[in-house]
Symmetry: C2
Subunit: 470 residues, 2 copies
């Protein structure tokens, strides 16, 4: 029952040993709210939602912090009049929130915005300057840089030697001591809006990207915490720089580093120039949100996912096997209440999840249980079927793919859906009675009424089945 | 076509003359996220949503800022382990967001959190100290106070003389020059969490409530802007203090002050001790969100609303007259597309809204139009009926109560709601025909089918009206 995770820094599987027994502090890099969320953003957020849910299932109190980077070069570049940069960032932040909600990604314990931590960034930067690891640029830019040569451990996260590293792209080189030094504070530029500039001991300006996360993680989880997560593309320079800054400032920072794999589109990297980005809204229009979640959760979190046409159709087919069993079980087990049998995940499921969040293996256990449940239903072994139903619900619950969770239902059904279902079922009963009485005028009338409302009826051996729209 | 509003400061109706032609900057005091939203919070947010929509309809670009006060005495008091104060505030913030969304209240252009503006507050406080209008407390508290006696205009918003004012409740009096002085900065206290304390030129601490809004309004709308709004209960001391601080710091601040009336419960003030608070979640479980919106929007924004049992039933009946017309019109006007006739609000509606947002008068015009539309349908004057349908939709659109707006559909109606509406209307027509043919068995059967699905029918002079639930 020990949770193990692959720690990027040590490059090995490690037991999770939280600093405070029973409590896990976890910081995850959230989006820079510059443009609409795409499939890669959703996947990354979902990975850490699964981590968090599993740690919760294992009894940990999880302090889960995922930030919003709301000040950055690209936000200023993408905001265009009459929309101010703040409004742009806020609108995009809401798009992310909505995408997360659609996929059942739980809200974090706290979601700090970078602009809310300017004083804390100043404090960290001042400490770095005092310790000799940062300096004010020699030109008049007002920039402050981290001095990579003063920090021998620089490169430890990604196992790079300083000599092998490329120049830092995030600031001009004039005034820098070394081209690989990165900006902690960026002096204000005349072409940037005044509202994107804060006073500082080093002159007006705005924070560098990396210091934002160091300051937010410290403020919300303390100078040392358990897990730092983010996409694989953030390992360098972002996470390397976070680690260097925070440790050079004398802090423990993260015990473990976890990185999730990226999403490619039919074998290619998503990019604006290729125009192949799959945005959250498109993905969610392709299939039901619960199926999209099932699909994105299904690969191991460290693997990359290659999204291709038809991927969601396959996921729909696989997920509907789970739903099908639950539907059949409910129809047959009418006398056996939910919860009458304790719902716990099978040992093999737990072992798979404990082993670096092995969702693919865990899903295999889930599908095996579904098959066994169908067999039990066929054989009329109802006590066994009820037990397996609760086991399936325990697994779908912790994976966030329980089809009965009202969170899924709230998006599209609700009161009107319930009334419609009741009304249609009642009318179909009337129709069956009318047909039995050979009153075909009445049965045709009911069919026509339903058809006019966009409701199709199909007669099956199990009786009439209705569907909406199409 | 000039919009007029009742300006609390001048105590008279005034023409809105924006500082920049065609563009209105509006700051509204949002919630202190200490506990769940109640009916009064929803009403206040809805009032400014209506203002914003109407100004938008009149062609203004509206910069609409509504803040979140996320650091305050009560937040620290209400947060309890293991939940940190930030997490508490964030959770309550999400409850507010969800309540707003349920009622179709549009997200603001930007929604600043107070904790994101500490440097801007410092800057304002420093200016007030320099100008001689604020001082560091004479004790060792680390508090900074606004010196009300140095500002002769203090009291102008609420027309009070300094001598008539009560002592400021928000800080102890030791170290104050005058008991009515109010805190701009509150020195850190040992019993408060370190994360709720920021360094400042006057020692570690946290901001006073009033300076937060002055700093956020300035940062997002500039030193002078058009409209400041909030609940009537915020006029004193909150708005009086905001005005004093900002003007004493040399800023123009708001041209107009607008205040909305409060909500009482069966004649009594809502209060924790009376236990009579009606929370957003309860209210929204009483009726459909669109009906709750119709109800809360229906009173004039400056009137108080007395919520009582049955209020939403009345609102449901009134609103369903609008829906009933639209449903019948769609059934009869199958050949006439929406938008074939331009949808503009009647002059009388526009005049009512221009006159200090006269929603009650505007709703009277809406209901008159519905009646005229029903008459046109009865008389078979389909072109006129189509014109009136578009007029009704223009009015429901700008009031945010268009039943076809997909935003409502996402929360419980949507495809199922449309199908239900279509099916029910069709069945009601069958019932009317059956009654005309004196086939009472058929008309009773239809009534019973609908009743079994939870749909009630009421016969009115305008024809049958149906409603869901109850």
């Amino acid at each position: 029952m020990t949770v193990r995770l692959y720690d990027t820094r040590s490059q090995e599987l490690r037991d999770l040993v939280p600093r405070e027994p029973g409590r896990v502090g976890m910081y995850v890099c959230g989006p820079t709210v510059q443009s609409s969320p795409h499939i890669g953003h959703l996947r990354s957020a979902l990975v850490y939602d699964l981590w968090r849910r599993w740690l919760g299932y294992r009894g940990y109190e999880v302090d889960f912090v995922r930030n919003v980077t709301d000040i950055e070069d690209k936000i200023l570049a993408n905001a265009s009049p009459p929309e101010a940069w703040r409004a742009h960032a806020y609108r995009v932040e809401r798009e992310f929130t909505s995408g997360y909600e659609s996929l059942g990604i739980l809200p974090p314990t706290y979601e700090p915005r970078a602009t809310g931590y300017i004083p804390q960034m100043h404090e960290l930067i001042a400490r770095l300057i005092d310790a000799g690891h940062a300096y004010v640029a020699a030109d008049s830019s007002g920039d402050v840089y981290f001095d990579v040569k003063t920090w021998p451990a620089y490169g430890e996260l990604t196992r790079q030697k300083l000599d092998d590293m490329a120049d830092s792209p995030d600031a001009p080189t004039r005034g820098k001591r070394d081209a690989r030094d990165f900006a902690l504070w960026k002096g204000a530029k005349p072409e940037e809006p005044a509202s994107a500039s804060w006073p500082s001991p080093w002159g007006a300006g705005r924070p560098g990207w990396h210091i934002e996360c160091s300051a937010m993680a410290r403020a919300e989880l303390g100078p040392a915490f358990d897990i730092h997560g983010g996409g694989l593309d953030l390992r360098f320079p972002h996470h390397e720089n976070e680690l260097a800054q925070s440790t050079a400032a004398g802090e423990g920072f993260a015990t473990h580093w976890v990185h999730n794999g990226l999403v490619t589109i039919e074998g290619q990297k998503m990019s604006k120039s290729l125009g192949n980005s799959v945005y959250a809204a498109e993905l969610l229009s392709e299939s039901r949100p619960i199926v999209v979640r099932y699909y994105l959760a299904g690969a191991h979190y460290r693997s990359s996912i290659d999204y291709h046409e038809g991927a969601l159709v396959e996921a729909e087919a696989a997920f509907s096997r789970i739903e099908g069993f639950l539907g059949r079980a409910d129809a047959r087990l009418a006398g056996i209440e939910h919860g009458a049998v304790p719902g716990i995940v099978p040992d093999a499921f737990g072992e798979a999840m404990d082993d670096d969040l092995g969702v693919p293996q865990a899903l295999a256990v889930l599908h095996e249980t579904v098959r066994a449940g169908n067999v039990a239903l066929e054989a009329g072994e109802l006590a066994e079927a009820a037990r397996l139903r609760e086991s399936v619900l325990a697994m779908t619950g912790v994976l966030g793919i329980d089809p009965r969770d009202p969170a899924w239902g709230d998006r599209g059904d609700g009161v009107a859906g319930a009334a419609l279902g009741s009304l249609v079922e009642r009318m179909l009963e009337d129709r069956t009675r009318a047909r039995a009485a050979k009153d075909f005028a009445a049965s045709d009338r009911i069919r026509d009424e339903l058809a006019a409302a966009g409701i199709a009826i199909e007669d099956t051996p199990d009786g009439p089945v209705w569907s909406l729209g199409g």
